[in-house]
């Protein structure tokens, strides 16, 4: 038997950080961090409301209520193009409508959640904030004082600005495009609607740009890809087990499906696009010849308990060839967009044994977190394996860094997301936490603890054990 390898290794643990208070009395579906650098996270719950929590102290900041007659299933922050002191959220509900909400955010009051750390920038005048292309705010964000300083938070409530109707049945997901130009909604009615806000900011006029109806069952998720010169692309996931990619095909508002991703053997629940950090990470490793930026990969998770990574295949099929995916007679009404072929190029190591409801790809670290019906939270990392032949492509592999069982006790977890850390325990800039949302109505924050060890870890772990046992085994072996 070989002596155990004494390798320096890092053990990652998922440790509980906080529970957001107060908790909801019924199932919570999803929690979305504010994309504009504000320490806020919005949770959609089956009690027909959305709770906005502070990420600084894990308490309730404000509540959106009275707009929907059934569960609020999803929520999306409008990306801020400039800082005008207005928060805007879109909500999608089982009542088949989408709501647009606004709230004037006041600063400089004691007790205000937002003011504490935005000191030192300007006074109370307007402050233009440069928003980088990936939605991150460049400068520390300071919100403008509202007109009346005396008004308390409770008086400045969320205003239910407009209700958008059109879908025939439950909305499953809503998402703003990164530029803020478009808003997508998807429903059990098999369709995806793309909306555009027209007129001046705050006039609340929306136009339906497109209704996309090629899925054959419920559309569970819509997820936008940042404009990389080809326009903003929308990915959708469905109960029909497929993923479709959509874009504006003619520059005149005509939208079409240009790729169908088939392979999952169950409902596809959630999608996330590869972040820039990951694109760059492997761009460098991949030699000099990769001059052109790669097309981001897409990650998907499914009721089939797998997480897959999809990549644009190098050569597109000839334009006139009948599409493998679309054998029907092409519509004479519009020119079909040039089809792209996407392939499943990786399946993440198995960490779940029930439907996986949520997957999130970190914009800061390129790591991935997933969760689902088994109540587990799993964190993965993609690593370089090296070249198999000289001059060949650098191979990569996904590894499981940590698995935590029973993240919400015995309950199912509906959502997990990476989120910038804002609380007092933060030790470095850009530190991230994981936030999970469960059937118990609870929203939890988790930190990743890493410990460098030099140990014969492999010795303590049987080779044929499952990932989970491995992680558990490693943890046991190291607990002091």
């Amino acid at each position: 038997m070989d002596p155990p390898a004494l390798l320096p290794s890092t053990i990652t643990r998922i440790v509980t950080l906080a529970e957001f208070k107060p908790i909801a009395s019924s199932r919570a579906w999803v929690s979305i961090p504010n994309p504009n650098g504000l320490p806020l996270i919005a949770t959609a719950t089956s009690d027909k409301t959305v709770r906005v929590y502070s990420l600084k102290n894990f308490t309730l900041h404000s509540t959106l209520e009275g707009g929907h007659s059934r569960s609020v299933r999803s929520v999306a922050w409008k990306p801020a193009v400039k800082n005008d002191g207005v928060l805007s959220l879109a909500t999608g509900s089982f009542d088949a409508t989408m709501g647009i909400w606004r709230r004037r955010e006041a600063l400089g009051e004691r007790g205000g959640v937002l003011n504490t750390d935005f000191e030192g920038v300007g006074q109370d005048g307007d402050l233009e904030v440069e928003v980088l292309a990936d939605g991150e705010v460049k400068e520390p964000l300071q919100l403008r004082n509202a007109k009346d300083d005396v008004e308390s938070d409770s008086e400045e409530d969320w205003e239910f600005a407009i209700v958008l109707e059109g879908h025939d049945s439950e909305l499953k997901n809503v998402a703003y495009s990164p530029s803020g130009q478009w808003l997508a909604s998807c429903s059990r009615d098999k369709s995806i609607w793309i909306w555009e806000e027209v007129g001046e900011e705050g006039e609340d006029e929306f136009e339906t740009i497109a209704v996309l109806q090629e899925h054959t069952a419920d559309v569970k998720c819509v997820c936008w890809r940042k404009d990389d010169g080809n326009g903003e692309v929308l990915a959708s996931a469905s109960y029909d087990d497929t993923i479709r990619l959509w874009k504006e095909v003619d520059g005149e508002g005509e939208w079409g499906c240009f790729a169908v991703l088939e392979g999952h053997e169950g409902t596809v629940w959630c999608l996330d696009w590869e972040p820039e950090v990951s694109l760059k990470m492997f761009h460098d490793a991949e030699t000099e010849l990769a001059e052109a930026p790669r097309i981001p990969r897409l990650m998907s998770c499914s009721a089939d308990s797998t997480i897959r990574v999809w990549t644009l295949a190098p050569a597109a099929p000839a334009p006139n060839k009948p599409s493998y995916f679309n054998p029907t007679i092409p519509s004479t009404m519009r020119a079909p967009p040039a089809d792209e072929k996407w392939e499943c190029t990786a399946t993440l190591p198995k960490a779940h044994d029930l439907p996986i409801y949520s997957v999130s790809w970190s914009k800061k670290t390129g790591r991935v977190v997933s969760t689902g019906g088994d109540g587990k939270i799993a964190v993965y990392e993609e690593r370089t394996k090296g070249r198999t032949k000289v001059g060949g492509e650098v191979e990569r592999e996904w590894v499981v860094l940590a698995v935590l069982q029973g993240g919400h006790g015995a309950y199912e977890i509906n959502h997990a997301t990476w989120c910038t850390r804002f609380d007092s325990g933060k030790t470095k800039d850009d530190e991230e936490i994981v936030v999970t949302t469960g059937d118990d109505g609870v929203v939890r924050a988790w930190a990743l603890e890493e410990e460098n060890v030099v140990a014969a870890v492999r010795e303590t772990v049987p080779e044929n054990s499952t990932i989970e046992e491995k992680v558990d085994g490693v943890m046991r072996g190291l607990s002091l």
């Binding site: 009395s25 019924s26 009690d47 299933r73 089982f94 059990r188 109960y239 409902t267 015995a410 118990d440």
Partner: protein
């Protein structure tokens, strides 16, 4: 509902004496918080509260909670057997839709581990292969079990192989938590479910 044209106008009814019968075994327990909770939910609270996870107080008020007595297949069967068919005033048990041998349970080896999951699979035998109400019956069974069993039980309800023309579609719907959650916010469907559950409260 469905009275004009029944899917199966003349179903086979099983003799009561042929049915598995230690339902009274835990009579003392059945009047405890679980039953009370179900009744409360069905009778009083707003519709979304039939959401199985809304009603999550499984404080074990059993008199003998010093010993953990694991839940078995019979007990699970007893929870769903009295549910009445939406079409006939008869129980799922007497119509042969639920059968004790089609209730499967996998319990974790360590019962003291509160986050270890138990898996329940119930296979239903529709009275006719084209029964349009199979989904509603399946929904009733799933909801009943999710309410009555502790949250660590993951319930799967399926149509037994070769007993229904659209078995796969029905199975997929019943496995989709989002569809189930949305169905429970539908007032019409809730009316039907409430009626089906009435015998469970007796």
């Amino acid at each position: 509902m469905g009275s004009a044209q029944l899917d199966n106008a003349n179903p086979t009814i099983l003799n009561a004496s042929d049915l598995p019968s230690h339902r009274r075994r835990r009579q003392g327990r059945d009047t405890s918080s679980k039953e009370h909770g179900v009744k409360e939910v069905l009778m009083a609270k707003p519709s979304y509260s039939l959401d199985p996870f809304y009603l999550s107080d499984f404080s074990d008020t059993d008199s003998d909670d010093s010993t953990i007595e694991p839940i078995d297949e019979q007990e699970i069967y007893d929870l769903i057997a009295p549910i009445s068919d939406p079409e006939h005033p008869l129980s799922l048990e007497s119509l042969g839709v639920v059968k004790l041998q089609d209730v499967h349970l996998i319990s974790p080896s360590d019962l003291t581990n509160t986050v270890a999951l138990s898996r329940v699979l119930v296979e239903l035998t529709p009275t006719v292969t084209h029964c349009s109400l199979a989904t509603v019956i399946g929904l009733g069974v799933r909801v009943r079990l999710e309410q009555a069993l502790p949250p660590s039980y993951r319930v799967e309800v399926k149509i037994k192989k070769d007993t229904h023309a659209q078995a796969e579609e029905v199975n997929k719907q019943l496995a989709d938590k989002e569809r189930v959650a949305a169905a429970l916010e539908n007032a019409n469907l809730m009316g039907i479910l409430r009626k089906m559950m009435e015998p469970c409260l007796a």
